[in-house]
């Protein structure tokens, strides 16, 4: 009797699409919960406590955030992060688009160039960061060395010792590393555009610019939206480049939210405060995602129409 009941339960379960669906989704759900939701939730919780490394904290409400709001270094880090993300993302977008369009033409050695373009993306970030660190070195910079040999400058450029120089130098390193991702993804997007659109527009007498503006761009926007969302997210949360090249110096001019969060939480032991800095990044990241989803992915705009 009991055995019978069991088998019918099992049979029922096997025949129920909903139950089966749930079971099949379980592994993925567990992964997400354990490795994504839990850490994020824990981070949010820590941000509201005064936890230290090795000492669990007590709930202190918004105190961390109040503290950070009045902290000049955190404000500077926020400014640096916004500046870094904005400039690097825009430059990466234009350079990437330009490269993608070039690579989409029938070049000689097309596959070779496509492979080469990916190289900066393949090299581990820490390694390329060390290379840039040498390029920007105050004493051994090969850039400064070449320029002095050519007689263009008479003293070495202080790439990382002057706040604005340091900001632009680290942005250049980030762009170098991030362009391949944008270029190759946009190239994939370009190749999905049917040649017939170009033929039709050519017959209508469209100039190359008009073709780009009214055929390429609208059809590419969904890809652009996705690529730029990722690009902004990666740049905003950048850590390795800064940590290797400047550690946030000089005078905290290149400290990003991520590096400051690490410095405060791990080196300084103020886990709660570090978590609060990390969590303070979330609204900005959400805003970037919202913008691309609701802004760039609007159908009317993609199909060449304009907003009503």
């Amino acid at each position: 009797m009991r055995a019978n009941g069991k088998s019918t339960m099992l049979e029922k379960l096997q025949n129920s699409r909903n139950a089966l669906g749930l079971i099949f989704m379980l592994p993925a759900a567990v992964l997400l919960l354990v490795f994504l939701t839990y850490p994020l939730g824990l981070g949010t919780w820590l941000g509201f406590t005064d936890a230290k490394v090795g000492r669990s904290g007590v709930w202190i409400g918004l105190e961390n955030y109040e503290f950070l709001w009045n902290d000049s270094v955190t404000r500077l880090a926020l400014f640096n992060t916004l500046f870094y993300t904005a400039v690097a993302s825009i430059v990466k977008f234009f350079l990437g688009l330009w490269l993608a369009i070039l690579l989409n033409r029938n070049l000689r050695f097309k596959t070779f160039f496509r492979a080469v373009i990916l190289l900066p993306y393949i090299v581990p970030t820490a390694l390329s960061a060390i290379a840039f660190w040498w390029l920007y070195d105050a004493q051994f910079s090969v850039i400064s060395w070449v320029l002095t040999r050519l007689g263009l400058i008479d003293r070495y450029i202080d790439f990382l010792g002057e706040p604005w120089n340091a900001r632009f130098s680290t942005i250049a390193a980030n762009v170098w590393r991030g362009v391949p991702f944008v270029a190759i993804t946009l190239l994939a997007g370009l190749q999905t555009i049917s040649p017939s659109y170009y033929e039709a527009s050519a017959i209508d007498g469209a100039s190359p610019w008009q073709q780009f503006r009214h055929v390429t761009l609208p059809l590419l926007t969904p890809i652009i939206a996705v690529v730029m969302t990722f690009s902004v997210l990666f740049t905003f949360t950048d850590f390795q480049l800064i940590y290797v090249i400047t550690r946030g110096g000089p005078l905290n001019a290149t400290h990003l939210m991520a590096t400051l969060s690490f410095q405060r939480a791990i080196s300084g032991g103020a886990l709660g405060e570090g978590a609060a800095i990390s969590i303070a990044m979330v609204p900005f990241l959400l805003a970037a995602i919202m913008f691309s989803y609701f802004g760039l992915q609007r159908r009317a705009w993609q199909q060449g129409g304009s907003d009503k």
């Binding site: 070195d137 004493q139 070495y156 202080d158 010792g161 000089p250 005078l251 791990i266 300084g268």
Partner: protein
Amino acid sequence: MSEFNRRKFLEGSAGVAAAIGAGSALFATSAQAQTIAFKPEKGAKLRVLRWSRFVQGDIDQYMKNVAKFTEKTGIEVRVDNEGWEDVRPKAAVAANTGAGPDIILSTNDDANLYPEKLLDVTDLAEYLGKKYGGWYPACEAYLRPDGKKWLGLALGAAGSMMVYRQSHLKAAGFDAFPKTNDEFLKMLRALKDKGTPGGFALGNATGDSLWTNWLVWSFGGKLVDKDNKVVIDSPETIKALEFGKEMYATFVPGTLSWLDPNNNKAFLDGQISVTNNGISIYYAAKNSQDPKVKEMAADINHASFPIGPVGVPTESHLFFNQMVMKYTKYPQAAKEFLRFMMEWEQFDPWLSAAGGYIAQPLAGYEKSAVWTVDPKNTPYRDSVKHMRPTGYAGKLGYASAGAGADFIVANMVAEAASGQKTPKEAAERAQKRAERYYRV
């Protein structure tokens, strides 16, 4: 530094004088007079987590000593190595969760973050102190904060000293390294005029930016007073910052961007004549394959930091602890292990193998051969003796650790030296930043 500590230290120094007089045989006799018995638990096994590694000789000899311990006692010891900056979070987590290594070799004020999680080693510390001429005051400040209980044992410090080119100093008119701040500044100016400037790291360099502590302390400035009240915005600090500005004017360009390795590279390339560093520059030169660099080794020499208006040494070095965790199942074995490692037969060869990179915490080891085998090692001998703890003159703990990791003093000096802020503005800003850490 309390009177109590100083008195204690003087007692210790007297012991050293006696020890030197009596020769090394004294240790053997005093060992008999001064014994301590730890009875390792049956079946004890130990796990040690230690920082690594500045010089290979250190780790090689340490492991040899460990093997010797295992041979003698039958206690198995597993040693795990981590980069020194990674030990702090790991040690803290172990302390909090109550599981992990039995013994942790950590840095600076780590033991002060969770004193209640550490095994009291007062008996062992007192035994070693008596036997080896006394602990230096900085060790007591770090590890015996209440003047009674020892939270752990000091292991020593990686000294950061003045590293300079003798020939360049001579050319600039200095036969010996200056002993006072004023002379030091004169020397920096003379070096610059000769086209052979000095350079000191002003970036967010965890180790090499420690010279900024020396600068502020040498003029009588300090981050906090004895009661952890922030007092960095003081006339003394302003004087120090003005001095720092004068120093900066003589530096090679680009020091604001310098991290820990930069001064080593610039020095070995002959671009700077003086900087602050561990003994590693000299070692790299001595062991270099490049004949030109090897030649430079003969010209490199070391000196203690100059003494400022306060009239006493005010050096700042990377300090090393040895902590026995309270949760260990084998407290006796752990203490016995530390005792064994700190005894002359093991500790002296270890100091020698580290080649001067690590300075002893006990005055008795001043007579270790490592300090005389090469006279250029000698200045590093007094690293712990001349050291002040980070977070001087306050109590150590989360506030001092946080303020140190946030580069408050280093940033202040960099801001003022580079002229981005006036000394007053820089000091005010440091005051505000430090007050946040010391708020409770």
